[in-house]
């Protein structure tokens, strides 16, 4: 008799690879043949995972349409059997899949659209942390500001797009016709984060992106101001840096700060 381990292996192969060996272990019912009954599990496997991908990537679905998305989910499911207990993480490889699979790689906006949706989902249920407040900086002595080091909130994700995927996402979200896919003359910096428990994103300018990237590496505020001055001119560089900092605090993009010796 097939032992439990062998039976489960055979059952799983039957679902994943269409192998019929397991049918020898299964009985016909009074009303139906075993192949049809086992087919319920085969169908449910693909249908459930396709539904999970559809929920996680609503705008990729909207962009490709039902038939295109069904083709994509079929290919993704075949290439990525779920190795996670929690279905929440099943679709996490989709941006990479779209970027590296020949059929889709020709359309970079697809991988970027998926990367944006994944980042929004990751920010939505990412780790909790305190948010830095303006009040906590109010008492900072002027001589301490240069040695201030900022700590990004753990839900902040930085992306860089070569296509107009962000614009496509916004149009699809508003249920309007998306613009034609286009390659951007310069890469577009995007920041994704969570504010008031909602995931958000916005394109940011090159200067703010530079300052954020450096701040996230632990570079002191004094040095950040110098970098901003070098980037786009000394005129009001300190003011520009302070203005970015204030907007990050207002948007709950920072978890805390410390003074470095």
């Amino acid at each position: 008799m097939t032992n439990l381990k062998e039976l489960q292996e055979s059952f799983q192969r039957g679902i994943l690879a269409g192998d019929d060996t397991v049918l020898a272990e299964i009985k016909d019912s009074a009303k139906e043949q075993r192949r049809v009954l086992f087919g319920v599990y085969r169908y449910a496997y693909v249908a459930r995972l396709a539904e999970i991908l559809g929920d996680d990537y609503e705008q990729v679905h909207a962009y490709l349409g039902d038939a295109g998305f069904a083709k994509l989910t079929k290919a993704y499911i075949a290439a990525n059997p779920s190795d996670q207990r929690n279905a929440r993480w099943f679709g996490r490889h989709l941006p990479t899949f779209l970027r590296t699979t020949t059929t889709y790689a020709k359309h970079p906006e697809l991988a970027e659209l998926a990367a944006l949706e994944k980042a929004l989902a990751d920010a939505f249920d990412g780790p909790d942390a305190e948010c830095l407040t303006l009040d906590s900086l109010a008492g900072l002595a002027p001589e301490d500001w240069p040695r201030l080091v900022l700590e990004p909130h753990p839900t902040v994700i930085r992306l860089s797009f070569t296509s107009n995927a962000a614009e496509i996402w916004s149009a699809l979200k508003d249920e309007t016709a998306p613009p034609k896919a286009a390659r951007l003359p310069e890469p577009q910096a995007i920041v994704v984060w969570r504010q008031d428990l909602m995931a958000r994103f916005r394109p940011i300018g090159a200067e703010e992106a530079m300052m954020w990237n450096e701040a996230a590496k632990g570079v002191r505020f004094g040095v950040l101001c110098e970098m901003v001055a070098t980037f786009a001119g000394e005129d009001e560089a300190g003011l520009r840096a302070a203005s970015y900092l204030k907007s990050w605090i207002d948007m709950e993009m920072l978890a805390g700060c410390r003074l470095e010796d």
Partner: protein, 287 residues
């Protein structure tokens, strides 16, 4: 009446599965719901709004945790990361009990995200009892195990499903979640009597009922949880209440989720049936 086990969890009344679509209605209103069941896996995440909503609902209602990925009958090793995460969630939620299904979900590191059937053999029984004991030791509490809907049966089975379930409960010393719809579905699919199943399960082990809808495919029924509860399942629920007495009951809807009011109406139907049979004018939550 059978003697109740002194350590049996309390009768909570009539509850619903907590679904994100209903968060605001629940928190802003005062719906007639005694308790909530949450899908554990949906809250085994780092943070954010879902956990915040769960905390707020937990402040007002008793909660039980219901998982779909424990894979208790799998021959793959227990997933200690999953168990650790489940334990951490239980510490946060302080549920009345933790349930999952009598099934497996995958082997060799693959998860098929389905509640897969097992053969009712002595080998499978020993395996499942051992696994439940290990999980209970790790969690420091009893598990509640639910019968699943199944579409196939195995030639090698040596006992009925209810004999298997009973042996599991007695030997592993766990609680049972009696899913009325799953009994109806499996009885139809495999041609056994739902009443035999009902009579075969130990009354003092059953701490919760699920009532749900399904999809009828003529030669078989699929447990889809996307329809209102049908008359046949309500009839079986009637027999179930007669047999088991007052047991925490919930309507389980996972797809085509209607407005909360519709589910409360279904829940009130369950409440009315139980009140009529048990002569309870009102069933209060036990917290």
């Amino acid at each position: 009446m059978s003697t109740e086990r002194p350590d049996k969890p309390p009768f909570l009344g009539f509850g619903l599965g907590l679904r994100p679509q209903h968060y605001s209605e629940i928190l802003d209103g005062d719906p007639e719901i005694d308790w909530f069941e949450v899908i554990s896996d949906n809250y085994m995440i780092p943070g954010g709004q879902p956990l915040r909503m769960l905390d707020r609902i937990r402040e007002r209602y008793p909660v039980v945790m219901h998982g779909v990925s424990l894979s208790i009958a799998s021959t793959a090793p227990l997933d200690m990361d999953y168990l650790q995460s489940l334990k951490a969630l239980a510490e946060r939620v302080q549920p009345k009990w933790i349930s999952d299904h009598l099934c497996w979900t995958g082997v060799h590191g693959v998860n098929l995200h389905d509640l897969l059937p097992i053969p009712y053999t002595k080998e499978a029984l020993d395996h499942v009892v051992d696994r439940i004991s290990q999980v209970q030791d790790f969690l420091g509490r009893r598990l509640t195990i639910e019968n699943v809907s199944s579409y196939v049966s195995f030639g090698q089975s040596e006992m009925t499903e209810w004999e298997f379930v009973t042996e599991v409960a007695e030997r592993a010393d766990c609680w049972l979640l009696f899913d009325v719809n799953n009994v109806y579905v499996s009885a139809f699919n495999h041609g056994f009597s739902a009443q035999d199943f009902l009579n075969g399960v130990p009354r003092d082990r059953v701490v919760q009922f699920h009532v749900a809808g399904h999809s009828h495919e003529e030669s078989h029924i699929i447990d889809t949880h996307d329809h209102p509860v049908c008359d046949e399942v309500w009839d079986l629920y009637r027999h179930t209440v007669k047999h088991f007495g007052p047991v925490s009951t919930m309507i389980e809807r996972d797809d085509n989720i209607p407005p909360l009011a519709e589910l409360v109406e279904e829940l009130n139907h369950a409440r009315a049936i139980a009140s009529e049979i048990l002569g309870l004018p009102h069933v209060a939550a036990a917290e």
